[in-house]
Amino acid sequence: MGGWSSGHVSKRTGSPKMPLVAVVDDDEAVREALHDLLQVLGLACRTFDRAEAFMAEYVPNQFDCLITDVSMPGQSGVELQERLRELGSSIPVVIITADTSPATRARAMSGGALACLTKPVNDNVLLHHLQSVLNDAGNSRDDRRDTPPDE
C-alpha cells in the first residue's frame, strides 16, 4: 500500500511542506473517517461540515486539494466547486457522493473535478488521485503561496 506515506513527506518530521487537504462533508462520521485516512496516508487535513463553512474561511492556495460531498444542507459540493472556479481557483477537487446519477457526475466533471468517486470510497483509488496532484504539492503550494492569487 501507500506510496504516499512511504514517500516524499514524513509526517513525523512535521515538515511544513506536508500537503494540506480540505474535507467538506455534512456527515460527522464521514469527516472523521476521511480525516483519519488522510492522516495515515501522511496528509494533513482540515474538515468542514458544509460548503458555507469552507467558504467563510477561504483563502486562496491554502489547501492542496479539496475533497467534498455533493449533497449537503445549503450549497452542494458541485456548487462549491463552481464557486471556487468563479473565484479563479484551480484547486484539485475530488467529489465524493452517494448519488451515482450520470447528471451529477457530468456536472462535477465539467466543473473541473479531478475525480468523482462513489461512496464508499476505495482508499487506493482516492490515494491514486491524491498522488497524481500532490506530488511535490508541498513545494508547489509553497511556491503558489508566494504568488499573489490574482496572478
Partner: protein, 697 residues
C-alpha cells in the same frame, strides 16, 4: 255439549235446537245476556232452583239472588277474568236458600264483543259454614294465584311453635325472623298455577319452581304473613285462614287464603291462594290479547331477549344500603361470594327464540335457570351489572362475550334494562345482539385500511429511495474508510493500537447507525396491524425527518423544525403517523421544487391548539394549492402530479380520521401551502400509562 252450544251461538243468537240438547244435561245450565237477562234456563236448573224456565227467561238472574258466598257481587270479576267459579246463594221457589257451586263463563266473539254468559251449576249440598268456605276457596283458586305446598319438612318447627302457643305465649312471627326463614325454607312447592308463576316473577319458570322452597319466591314484604298462616293452618286442619298481605306489583288489595288439604292429598299439604284486583282494568280477554301480542313481539323480536327476576338481588341491595354500604363496587370486590351467590339466586324467567338460537340451545327451557351461564365468558360483567343495579341506573350497555352451549364464544352487545318502580319489579331485561359479524367487518376494514396505508408507505419509500440510499450510505462509507485506515495502520511498522481501537469503535458505532436506519425503513415497509400506543408526537416528527432530511438537503430547501414544549402524549400508531408527516413533507418538497422559488423554506411545527389537541403543521413557501383543488386534495385518486396516483393525502386523511383527529390544507396569505393535522389527547391517562407497553387497539 259446550261445543254444540258454541257452534249454535256462533251466529250471535242461540239456536233452540242446541238448547234442547242442554235440556238433557244433569247440571244446571243458565245462559244470560250482556245485561244479565236470562235467555235460557234448562231442565236441571228447574230441578235445582225450583223455578220453571218460563218464569225465569227474560228475568235478571239477580232476582233470585246471585251473590257470591262472601256477599260480594262477582260480576265485574267475571267480566274481567272471563270466568268465575265459586259458591253462590240463591232463593229457591219455596223460599229456601239454595247453595250452588257454579262455574260461569263469558263468551265473546272474535272481535272481543261479549256474546253471553253461560253458567253451569250444581247443588253444593248442605254443608257446614267452614266447608262452604273451603269449597268456595277451592273453586276460586283457579282464578287466584294458587300454591300447593308440602310442609312435612317443617313439621318439627311447627310442632315446636304449637307447643309454645299451648303454653300461652302469643306467637308474633315478626319477632322471629329465624322461624320465618326456617319455615319458608323447609316448606316446598308441590304445585303452582300459571297465575302464581306469573305474579311471583317466574314466567315460564314452572319447572324451576317445583320442589323449591317457597321462600325462594315469596315476596320479602309478606314473609311473616305467610309464616303465620302456615303455622295456623298446619296446626289446625279444619281452619281456613284469610289475611291481607302486602304485595308490590300487579295485584291491588291482595287477599291470601290458606287451608289444609283434605284427603286424598298427603297430610302435610297446604293450599295457599292469593286473590286480588289486578291493577290493570282491562278484561282478561284484552289482557290476554295484549299479552299474546307482547309475547309474539318478544318471541320474534330479532334480538335475543332474557327476562330476569332480579328481585333477590334487589332485596340484598336494600339490605346492604340499610347497612350503610355506599361503594358497592368495592364491597363486591371484598366479598366476591356475593356475586357468586347472585349468579345462583337471580333467575332467568323467560327467553325468546333469538336467545335460544344465539346460545345454540335446544329449547327455551335450557336457558330458564339461574343467570350464571350468561356470565361464563365475561369476567367482571356480573359485578358491573350488579353495580349498575345498585346505583339505580336505568340500564347498562357493553360489548362483551358469551359462551354458547356448544362452547363457541360469541361477541355480543349486551344490554341490561333494570325495572324502575312502579314497573313490575321482577322484570329485568337483558338483550344481546350478535356483533361478531360487525366485528369481523371492522376487522376487515382495519386490514383494508392497513393495506391501503401500507401501499402508501411503500410508494413514499419509493419516492424517497435516493434520500434513503444516501442516508444509509453515509455510515457504510464511514465504515469502509475507517476499516481501510485501520488496515493501513496495522500494516505499518509503528502500529498504533490506540488509533486502531478508536477506528474500530467508530466502525461499530457506524454499523449500529446503519442498522438503525434499516430498522426504521423496515418499519415503514412492513405490513403491520395498527397499534395505538401513547406516544410523543415530537419524537415521531424527529424520526420522520430522518427519512426525508437528505431529500430536503439535496434540493437546497431550508427546513426549520420547531417542537412545542411539554406536548401531552397522544394515542397513535407511530409508523402511520410518521407516514402522514413524511407524506405532507414530501408534498411540500415537490411543490417547492416545481415552483422554481429561489429561497426554499419548509417549517415543520408541533404545538397545542385551543382545544388542547396536539397539532402538527407543515408550512412551505411553494406555489400553494390552486383554490379550485383545495376541496379535493384529500379525495382518492386526485393528483396534480404527473406520476402521482393520488392516494397519498387520501391515506393521510384515513389515518388521521382513524386516530380521531382532523387533517386540513389551506393556502398561506403570503403564498405557499399550510397543511396540518390535529390529534386528540386522551382524557384518562393513568400514572403508568406513559409506558410504551400499553397497547390499545
Amino acid at each position: 255439549m259446550s261445543n254444540l252450544l258454541q257452534r249454535a251461538t256462533a251466529g250471535g243468537h242461540t239456536s233452540p235446537h242446541a238448547m234442547e240438547l242442554a235440556d238433557l244435561a244433569s247440571e244446571s245450565v243458565i245462559v244470560s245476556d250482556v245485561h244479565g237477562v236470562i235467555r235460557y234456563w234448562n231442565a236441571a236448573s228447574e230441578a235445582l232452583y225450583g223455578w220453571p224456565a218460563m218464569a225465569m227467561v227474560g228475568q235478571r238472574v239477580q232476582t233470585i239472588g246471585s251473590l257470591a258466598h262472601n256477599g260480594t257481587d262477582h260480576f265485574s270479576a267475571l267480566l274481567r277474568e272471563g270466568r268465575w267459579e265459586g259458591v253462590v246463594h240463591r232463593r229457591g221457589l219455596t223460599g229456601t236458600e239454595i247453595v250452588a257451586a257454579v262455574r260461569q263463563i263469558v263468551r265473546r266473539d272474535t272481535t272481543g264483543a261479549l256474546l253471553d254468559i253461560v253458567e253451569f251449576g250444581r247443588n253444593a249440598g248442605s254443608l257446614s259454614e267452614a266447608a262452604y268456605l273451603r269449597m268456595d276457596a277451592e273453586l276460586q283458586s283457579s282464578l287466584a294465584a294458587s300454591w300447593e305446598l308440602d310442609t312435612s319438612a317443617a313439621r318439627p318447627l311447627l310442632d315446636a311453635i304449637t307447643e309454645h302457643r299451648r303454653s300461652g305465649i302469643t306467637i308474633d312471627f315478626d319477632r322471629h325472623p329465624d322461624w320465618v326463614d326456617k319455615l319458608l325454607t323447609t316448606t316446598r312447592i308441590l304445585a303452582i298455577n300459571d297465575r302464581a308463576v306469573r305474579i311471583f316473577g317466574a314466567h315460564a319458570g314452572y319447572e324451576q319452581m317445583i320442589g323449591q322452597p317457597i321462600g325462594a319466591f315469596w315476596p320479602a314484604e309478606s314473609r311473616s304473613v305467610l309464616a303465620t298462616l302456615l303455622e295456623s293452618v298446619a296446626s289446625d286442619r279444619t281452619r281456613l285462614e284469610i289475611s291481607k298481605m302486602v304485595l308490590s306489583g300487579s295485584l291491588r288489595n291482595p287477599v291470601i287464603k290458606a287451608w289444609h288439604s283434605a284427603e286424598p292429598k298427603p297430610p302435610d299439604t297446604v293450599f295457599v291462594t292469593i286473590n286480588g284486583v289486578t291493577n290493570d282494568e282491562r278484561t282478561s280477554w284484552e289482557l290476554q290479547a295484549s299479552e299474546n301480542r307482547y309475547r309474539r313481539l318478544v318471541q320474534y323480536l330479532p334480538t335475543a331477549l332474557w327476562q330476569v327476576d332480579s328481585r333477590r338481588a334487589g332485596e340484598a341491595f336494600d339490605q346492604l344500603k340499610a347497612n350503610g354500604v355506599r361503594d358497592i363496587a368495592g364491597h363486591l370486590e371484598r366479598n366476591p361470594d356475593l356475586v357468586e351467590h347472585a349468579k345462583d339466586v337471580v333467575r332467568v324467567t323467560d327467553v325468546n327464540l333469538d336467545a335460544v338460537s344465539l346460545f345454540r340451545a335446544g329449547n327455551p327451557a335450557d336457558l330458564i335457570k339461574p343467570v350464571r351461564y350468561i356470565f361464563a365468558a365475561a369476567p367482571g360483567l356480573a359485578e358491573r351489572v350488579m353495580v349498575a343495579h345498585f346505583e339505580g341506573r336505568r340500564n347498562l350497555i357493553e360489548e362483551t362475550r358469551v359462551r354458547a352451549f356448544d362452547g363457541s364464544i360469541i361477541d355480543v352487545l349486551f344490554t341490561v334494562t333494570y325495572p324502575v318502580p312502579p314497573e313490575q319489579l321482577d322484570n329485568t331485561f337483558i338483550t344481546m345482539q350478535d356483533i361478531s359479524e360487525r366485528l369481523n367487518a371492522e376487522q376487515q376494514l382495519r386490514k383494508l385500511q392497513a393495506d391501503f396505508s401500507h401501499a402508501g408507505r411503500i410508494a413514499t419509500l419509493g419516492e424517497l429511495a435516493t434520500s434513503i440510499a444516501h442516508e444509509i450510505n453515509q455510515p457504510l462509507s464511514a465504515i469502509v474508510t475507517n476499516g481501510e485506515t485501520s488496515l493501513r495502520w496495522l500494516a505499518r511498522a509503528d502500529q498504533n493500537t490506540e488509533k486502531v481501537t478508536q477506528l474500530t469503535s467508530r466502525i461499530v458505532s457506524n454499523a449500529r447507525r446503519a442498522s438503525d436506519i434499516i430498522h426504521r425503513i423496515r418499519g415503514m415497509a412492513a405490513k403491520h396491524e395498527p397499534e395505538k400506543r401513547l406516544i410523543n408526537l415530537n419524537e415521531v416528527v424527529e424520526e420522520a425527518l430522518l427519512f426525508i432530511r437528505h431529500d430536503i438537503d439535496s434540493k437546497s430547501i431550508v427546513l426549520s423544525a420547531s417542537f412545542g414544549a411539554d406536548l401531552p402524549k397522544v394515542l397513535g400508531d407511530r409508523i402511520q403517523l410518521q407516514q402522514v408527516i413524511i407524506n405532507l413533507l414530501v408534498n411540500s418538497v415537490q411543490a417547492i421544487v416545481q415552483s422554481g422559488q429561489p429561497t426554499r423554506r419548509i417549517d415543520a411545527q408541533t404545538s397545542i391548539d385551543d382545544d388542547g389537541s396536539v397539532v402538527f403543521s407543515v408550512l412551505d413557501n411553494g406555489p400553494g394549492v390552486p383554490a379550485a383543488n383545495l376541496a379535493r386534495v384529500f379525495d382518492s385518486f386526485f393528483s396534480t402530479k404527473d406520476a402521482g396516483i393520488g392516494i397519498g393525502l387520501a391515506i393521510c386523511q384515513s389515518i388521521i380520521t382513524a386516530h380521531g383527529g382532523r387533517i386540513a390544507g389551506a393556502n398561506r396569505p403570503n403564498g405557499g401551502a399550510h397543511f396540518h393535522f390535529t390529534l386528540p389527547v386522551p382524557t384518562v391517562a393513568g400514572p403508568d400509562s406513559s409506558g410504551a407497553g400499553d397497547i390499545i387497539r
